[in-house]
Amino acid sequence: MAALSRAAVALAVPVAAWQALVLVLAPPRYVLPAPAEVLAAAWRQPQYLAHHTLVTLSEIAAGFAAGAGVGVAVAFGLAALPRLGALVWPLVLVAQALPVFVAAPVLVLWFGFGMASKVAMTTLIIFFPVASAFADGLRRTDRDLVEAAQLARASHWRTLVDIRLPLALPSLVSGLRVAAPLAPLGAVIGEWVGASAGLGFVMVQANARMQTDTVFAAMAILAVLALSLRAAVDRLAPRLAPWARER
């Protein structure tokens, strides 16, 4: 409860500053609408915004799940087959280095204008932080423990599954927490490039019609989604590694 009221206060300050700025500078409404106008824009079209919010939310959720899954699988695969890892990891780095705005139109051409391309975009953005963090965790297991396992004649696979994997879970949690804010980004970029629904689509349409208040309303909803996803991951991910809870 205290956290919520703190969040409310933290939110109220910039919104009040924004309103004051609009009152003092009186910019044209198509450049910077007042918070009241943004709220009015959201009030005017609740079903429209709700429908598109749901679309983006499902893209974010599916993309986050897929990206995290692929990231875990890739990191685990690299640890299980180290020689293959040496070949595959540079490819992974190249895929990550590609600017997202370049990949987006290509993904849309391959996967079409429906949800698939947005989920693919989100997966692409999410998977590297997750894979990188988890792979690091798997790689950096305490030397003493690994050597103790070798003394007990444990196979590479047993060492990996029984010792390195559980000890790498806190790193995976960090990776998930870093990746969470990126998921909405992937969904929206995918929608900008080609879509018929979603908050990114709403923003592009409203922008073309000079309806800046609707653009801001969609942005505000997106911010709420991003924060909620972040909060959810912060809450749930540490359950993967309950022994590593921060004090």
Binding site: V31, G194, A208, M210
Partner: protein, 312 residues
């Protein structure tokens, strides 16, 4: 010593500048330079702007949707814009007025593959149409569909951004709207596919000017605009009288546009330039406003005097 040097440099700079001060004008284009801008480029290459005492800069936009806001807020004196969007801008409180016409026919087209399943607009029922965001494509498509007796709700609109031709060729959409008849059809032909075009003004949409010159209302009486438009008019007439020579002027200025697509687009656009850019057809503007209001895109059609002026 330093002071003498300073004044000497100042004098040299003053002597090097042109004898007559040129009035500056920034023209924000609606897209990259292309044959749609022929009258402007021809006027510039013939020295007509210079003769009128104008230093005109043609600036392509990084983001096409920025043009009305940039012109309204003073970042450019002149913008090239679309007549249909002028009404939407007015409804959104963006202060702009039309003061001249560049292209006086619609260019927007509903395009399908010639050998595809869509032979007439009525065949679009239940199909997908791709559009690039212009703000009023659903009003235009809605009218064309209603004209053919199709329920607009049965057609899915997908924003394909600017990938109109690739999405049509790739079968991702059954039709596209927002392509220009003087460009996208040629583009398709060069990729080996024949397109069939349905022109909005032939299917229930009132005729309009595709490209117009806009400025902010305070500048409407500015003398620079009058001299600018007079030079553009001369350029348009020169184009009409000497099309081949004008094309050579155009590609000398923009050698990277000397290709099959632009050559064909040049020929296709020639008949569509306004030879009387000053003239304003008030009744036609009012008719289009009424159409947009009826389509529900704007609340009420604005008075033509609020959105368009005819320079005297």
């Amino acid at each position: 010593m330093i002071r003498i040097l300073f004044f000497a440099i100042l004098a040299a700079l003053a002597a090097a500048s042109p004898a007559r001060a040129q009035d500056r004008l920034t023209v924000l284009l609606e897209w990259f330079v292309n044959p749609d801008h022929a009258p402007l480029v021809v006027a510039r290459e013939l020295g007509l702007f210079e003769k009128a005492g104008l230093a005109v800069e043609l600036v392509p936009p990084a983001d096409p949707s920025i043009v009305p806001r940039a012109v309204a807020s003073g970042q450019a004196e002149i913008g090239i814009h679309y007549q249909p969007n002028l009404y939407l801008d007015h409804a959104a409180g963006v202060p702009l007025v039309r003061f001249g016409t560049l292209v006086e026919t619609p260019l927007n087209t509903l395009t399908v593959l010639a050998d595809g399943p869509v032979r007439a607009i009525a065949d679009l029922a239940g199909r997908t149409v791709g559009f690039s965001v212009s703000g009023f494509e659903d009003a235009m498509l809605g009218r064309m569909l209603a004209n053919a007796g199709v329920d607009p709700e049965s057609v899915t609109l997908v924003n394909v951004n600017f990938a109109l031709t690739p999405s049509l060729l790739g079968g991702k959409v059954d039709a596209t709207i927002g392509g220009f008849r003087n460009f996208e059809l040629t583009q398709m032909r060069l990729e080996g596919a024949e397109g069939r075009a349905f022109f909005p003004e032939e299917h229930g949409v009132p005729a309009y000017d595709e490209l117009i010159f806009v400025t902010r209302p305070e500048l409407a009486g500015d003398d620079r605009l009058k001299r600018f438009l007079a030079a553009v008019e001369q350029g348009a007439i020169h184009l009409t009288n000497h099309p081949q020579e004008s094309w050579e002027l155009f590609v000398r200025a923009y050698p990277d546009l000397d290709d099959a697509l632009n050559r064909q687009a040049w020929a296709d656009t020639l008949p569509r330039f306004a030879k009387r850019p000053f003239a304003l057809d008030r009744a036609r503007y009012a008719r289009f406003g009424a159409f947009l209001a009826e389509a529900g895109l704007i609340g009420k059609a604005p008075a033509v005097a609020d959105i368009a002026v005819e320079l005297q």
